[in-house]
């Protein structure tokens, strides 16, 4: 081996290499950000826009939203859950003494805003949609935004007060994907935005749309929104429209919801995604699930158990069980479910109670509640209402059945707040329905960036 040659060639090569690297440095330092996708390439055609929308549905189905947090945190504020087996964030939520350091509540807030961002990005690039697809895409965006705003305003702002001007601080309304500081709109303004979005969705969406939202989905949510506002005529109108014209059946089997097969009653539901390896909706299912060796994270009160088991013939009593002296809800024991967001059952409850509140169409309402009670107690049950029952009797039956039908689904607390907003004297576990601790604090970054008023904490005990 000739050493000199070796050295010379090494020097020559390294020298040349160094010249090369140093002379073409810009390329050298601009490493390719492999896999990065930037905004300029996300929404060029129908397929892109549909992926943006689809991501909004994906966001709805995540654990931090309809995958469980939304239902669980709602129930923790109410009167269903037994506080003695809770710890951590769930315990402080139950104690109505949570603060900005509750990561579950912060994560939920972020997740619930995700469909809104997807909607706003879609609407920003709507011009890139084909004429044929444009309405449907826009309708989906308005539906996602309206639904999320409605869910947010109920958890992070004080309830809508019937007949009030509702100037109490609501939530920020973001209608564009550009980042900019924003203030909280009033509860009234938020509800008007929700109604506007859902009405646009109603207009723009088709009557059938696979697993995605249809005009009926929009109308059903509108019925829920109006009912929450104690606007009974509109609630009746929209609930009635979906029940009469939507083509959804009333499921004769109470147990189909929260099953892998799903129920034909679902006006809007989220898909389980059978090839999803991580399992969807597990925060809801897992927190209640009674099949494990240990107690589930959520157990229910003796009172809720007793009410659920009160009528011997009630088929829904099968939803309750006990373990080592604790009361459990086994309604969500399935490993895989199609997750209903709104069902015909709830629309019937809305229609019936709206009828009672207005003292109009009572027979329609009585039929609705009897459908539900027949399914639960059997056709010969003495609990069924006579067709000439008065509004008060009807309302009482609807409220009892609502509590039993929708137990554990995250409905109860908002129902109590609605009744409070209707001027009734409502206490929740010994605290007035609109005490500060019954709504959640905004996550700190949201408050810091926007410099808006934070919700006070505690004050419910």
């Amino acid at each position: 081996m000739n050493i000199k040659i070796l050295i010379r060639s090494t020097l020559a090569i390294t020298g040349a290499a160094s010249l090369l690297t140093f002379s073409s440095c810009d390329k050298v330092v601009d490493l390719d950000p492999i896999g990065f996708v930037t905004e300029d390439s996300i929404a060029k055609n129908d397929a892109d826009l549909k992926a943006l929308i689809n991501s909004g549905y994906y966001a709805l189905a995540q654990d931090d939203y309809y995958g469980g947090s939304f239902q669980v945190y709602n129930e923790l504020l109410g009167d269903l859950i037994n506080g003695s087996t809770l710890n951590g964030d769930y315990l402080s939520t139950y104690n109505r003494n949570t603060n900005i350091f509750n990561p579950g509540i912060s994560a939920m807030y972020g997740q619930m805003n995700k469909p809104i961002l997807q909607a706003n990005q879609t609407l920003k690039y709507l011009a890139n949609a084909s004429a044929a697809a444009k309405d449907e895409i826009a309708g989906q965006a308005h539906f996602l935004r309206g639904l999320s705003l409605f869910d947010l305003v109920r958890l992070y702002a004080q309830p809508y007060k019937k007949g009030g001007n509702n100037t109490q601080p609501g939530i920020p309304i973001r209608l564009s994907p550009e980042r900019a500081p924003i203030q909280r709109s009033s509860v009234e303004e938020v509800y008007q935005q929700i109604i506007s979005d859902l009405k646009k969705a109603d207009t723009l969406l088709p009557a059938t749309n696979g697993v995605y939202a249809t005009k009926w989905s929009a109308k059903a949510i509108l019925a829920r929104v109006y009912f929450q506002m104690n606007d009974f005529s509109n609630a009746y109108l929209y609930a009635n429209d979906v029940i009469e014209n939507g083509g959804f059946g009333f499921d004769a089997d109470y147990s189909h919801r929260y099953s892998s097969a799903g129920t034909p009653e679902a006006v809007f539901q989220l898909v389980y995604e059978s090839n999803n390896t991580q399992g969807r909706f597990q925060r809801l299912l897992g927190n209640y699930r009674t099949t494990g060796s240990a107690l589930p994270a959520l157990t229910i009160t003796n009172d809720a158990y007793t009410k659920g088991k009160a009528v011997a013939t009630d088929v829904r009593a099968a939803w309750y069980s006990t373990k080592t002296g604790f009361y459990l809800l086994n309604k969500f024991d399935s490993n895989s479910v199609e997750l209903p967001v709104i069902l015909v059952t709830e629309l019937k409850l809305i229609r019936a109670e709206s009828a009672a509140e207005q003292n109009q169409n009572l027979s329609v309402g009585i039929t609705d509640i009897n459908d539900i009670m027949t399914r639960a107690y059997g056709a010969s049950s003495s609990l069924l209402l006579p067709l000439n029952a008065n509004a008060t009797v009807l309302k009482e039956a609807v409220r009892r059945e609502r509590n039993l039908e929708l137990v554990g689904e995250g409905n109860r607390t908002q129902e109590l707040k609605r009744e409070g907003g209707n001027g009734e004297n409502v206490m929740i576990r010994g605290a007035i329905f609109n005490c500060p601790g019954l709504i959640f604090p905004f996550p700190s970054n949201e408050v810091n960036y926007n410099s808006f008023e934070q919700n006070p904490i505690g004050g419910c005990n």
């Binding site: 000739n2 050295i7 330092v29 996300i42 966001a59 710890n87 805003n113 973001r174």
Partner: protein, 1042 residues
Amino acid sequence: MKKSKESLTRIFTALLLFMGLSLTSFAQNVVTGKVTNSKDGEPIRGVTVSVKGTKTSTQTDIQGAYKISVPQSNSVLIFTSVGFSSVQVPATAAANVKMDEEMKQLSDVVVVGYGTQRKREVTGAIARVSSAEINAVAAPSFEASLQGRVAGVQVSQSTGLAGAGSYVRIRGIASVSAGGDPLYVIDGIPVSADPLALESSSKSNSYLLRSGFTQSPLASINPEDIESIDILKDAGAAGIYGSRGANGVILITTKRGKLGKPRFNFSTKIGFTQPSVKPKLLNTEEWLQVRQEGWENDGHTGPAPLPGGISWADAQKVNTNWFDELTHTGVTQDYNLSMNYGKNKFRSFIGGTYGNDESYAIGNKFTRGSIRGNFDYNFSQKFKASLTSSYNKGLNYRVPAGWAGGIGASMGEALPFYPIYKTDGTYSTAQANPLVPIKENKFRSDDNRILGGLTLSYLPIQNLEVKVNGNLDNYKNLTDRYNNNKIYNATSFNSAERWKTDITNYNFSATATYNKTINADNKLTFLLGGEYQKSQTEVLHYYRSDSSVNTSFYDNKSLLDKASVDYVNNYPNISHKDSMLADQWSFISYFTRINYNYKGKFFAQALARVDGSSKFGPNNKYGFFPAVSLGYILSDESFFKSSLPFINYFKLRTSYGITGNASIPSFRYLDNFNASAGNGNAPYNGQGTIGQTQVANPDLKWETANNFDAGVEFGLFKNKLTGDISYYNKLSKDVLMNIGLEEGYGIGGSTIYQNVGKVRNEGVEIALNFRAIQQKDLRLNFFINTAHNTNVVLDAGGYAPDAIQSGTNETRVLVGYPLGTSYSIIYKGVDPTDGLPLWLDKDGKITKVFPDVATSRRPAGKLIPDWTGGFGGNLYYKGFELNTLFAFSTGLDIWDNSGKNQFLGASSGQNWNIRREFLDRWTKPGDQTLYPRFTYDLYPGVGNPSLFSSNMFLYNADYLRLRELTVAYNFKSDALRKIKIENIRVFLTGTNLFLWTKYKGGDPEVNRDADGGTADRNMSPNVTYLTAPQAKTVQFGLNVNF
């Protein structure tokens, strides 16, 4: 080829002829003699003896003896050796020579980055740590051994566990969201040294956290291979590293061969290790009593319920001391053999090591094996090649700690009345049993690191040296973990997990150095260079949990077939099949340094570096980092010598310059959309999704530090007292802060890196060395090095404290306060009437309802020290040595993040063990106590125990520890020399033998840095969460040179 071979032969022949000629043409006299140390009369080996005016030279042997032929009787011999003043004597027949040791500090050559300088000529702030100091203590990794050695370098170990990482800060901390660690450069390559690299992927994937403490990625490097460590502190020194110099630079130089016959060194250490402090916790009887007390305090009657439905009778039968069950006396053993050889043009250093170091935690040990070969070859006067190579393997048998269980659980969830075994002898798993994971699980972290480089140096003309240098740092870690889940529940599956990390890091530099002597008084040195560095990281995560999993992937590779593979990366839109890349970045740099030397007493240096990096966007891709510095040896002036004769050496030094910090994740300047919005990779309804995960900041750029440094270096009273006193003022601007995105934007948890902050670090450093006695048989030396640092946040970009990502602890960035300020609810003691805690509400009024953290937190203390340092002494008497090093840290608090859970251990939702000190609590009206009454139902306003954060658990963390105590004896005699042994040193070293602190919760030297990533590491250095204490170690050692 043939032609040059011929020419080589010709040159060789010519050389031989010339030598032959010189041999024959002059009358030859042979001179023999012995070279000894004037101080103690010991022979000096390896002294170069040359004949003045010729090329003839030789070296002294082990006896200090030499033999050399001189051409004439009036020839002069020159004796030179590193560390000694050179001596010239006439070549008489038997020239015995005594050599004087030089004042070490001044003769030393220090490494300054892309070159070396004599210490006296250095104009920047540089401190050197020797090989002996690095190897003096038992440390999990070499950087931990820097503790207490250098003024202004703060070192604290995360835990006393094997392979534990350390927190190293030079001249305070200015970085919040960018890495605050110094740049580690080993033999010219900036190496991968991120202690978080093995905990998460340093991204946001919290599920990747592997255990409750960091592991040092440098632990596999053999400390015995290290010749010296030079720490560059100011811009005058670190400025040459430009955009990466702001946190200081630690230059590690490994040993290289020296001229002479093969010399061997063998050393071994065998030792025993135990926890420095054992936690003081309640036993069963006490815990039950406290439970009942809290229960009754809250108005309940009857016996308090116990966790898990255990009956009082059963509980009273068991009393487990979990900490004792999980610890033992660990045995450490290390062996090291190296060889040094140099002949003619060739020099070599070859070394190998093996170590097997158990920690005090059962099941935890670090096994290190490494080999190194450093070779130099001078092809000619003009050509030189240097090869540096090492392979380092470190195998860490890890155990969970902190929040992850193990020793952590023994101080928390494992209550004393939980049994280890059931009556049938099997493990009791109904309640916490931290022994089960230690015994039944497997957790193995395997480091493999190749470090190597080739430097070619060429002198084309006189005074010009051109160097090209290429280095490779390949770091592979394979962490395997197996969890036996069946033991808890027969129907669950065991799980096997593997993290495969591969970081390849290479650099390439070319420099030209030109020395220009204008005249005898004015000399200039120019350095011009360029460098390119690229780093690529691949991280794969394998997971499997099904009925076939019965051991780790490491022990059964066939299990990998059906493992799921996660690709841990910055690039969510590509699968690992497309590319293995997890992270990559590159730097391209140009730099220059000009040194001016006037009469050997005035020195000026100007340097500048331009760095371009892939980490920054088009708006700010390049940064410019200049620095100027001056040095003036006043003591060389005649007026000084005459008027202040007791001052032997006095140098003034000052520098000003800009350095930078670019340690942030890659591609944060871009926005990004994930094709699978949210967590996980699932589509919705089988259709694709796309959602935003990152917002863009095209203006993202370097964090810069404006450094001012001024210092004096001196030697007084015949250099008996030497020292270095420095002042620095470092203003960091455009501090990189990772701002939490407003959650309502819709990508909750996402953050944006912005250059928003301003932080000042100002301080003084004092290093003194006093050689009290210097005699042949008796030497006594005292030293102290200490630094005071004042840190203040001047600007936080208007962001509220909670907006800036500050990790998982209660520290925040607060304008007007130091980084790492504890921001918490203020505890105002106990109401003696009812024992309830008192707090300050948002208006500063006393309240009994725990106040809202959103409005009522206040700065409560700081977690970074005022003073850090070390002091000690060295005594030598007739071969005996006594060396001590005390290390200290004062003016800081410790945030005891687990204290709240331990304090509320007897409350219903907590069920943890309780520290004994908390027994100082209220029990009856009138009691004046440190702590409130125990509670079962929690205090008013406390939603859950984890929200019970207040300065009740913020404690003074000042400490002083006996870091090193060594007793040694040196055998050095003619008898040994006859059997070719130069010397033998036997020693007994104690590391961390004593600790003085007021902190009652254990050892206050902690850092809980594994949880919140970089932000925690910067902001919460002194936070404990069930931290495994430091280790105290006693080692017996033997060191033989032959």
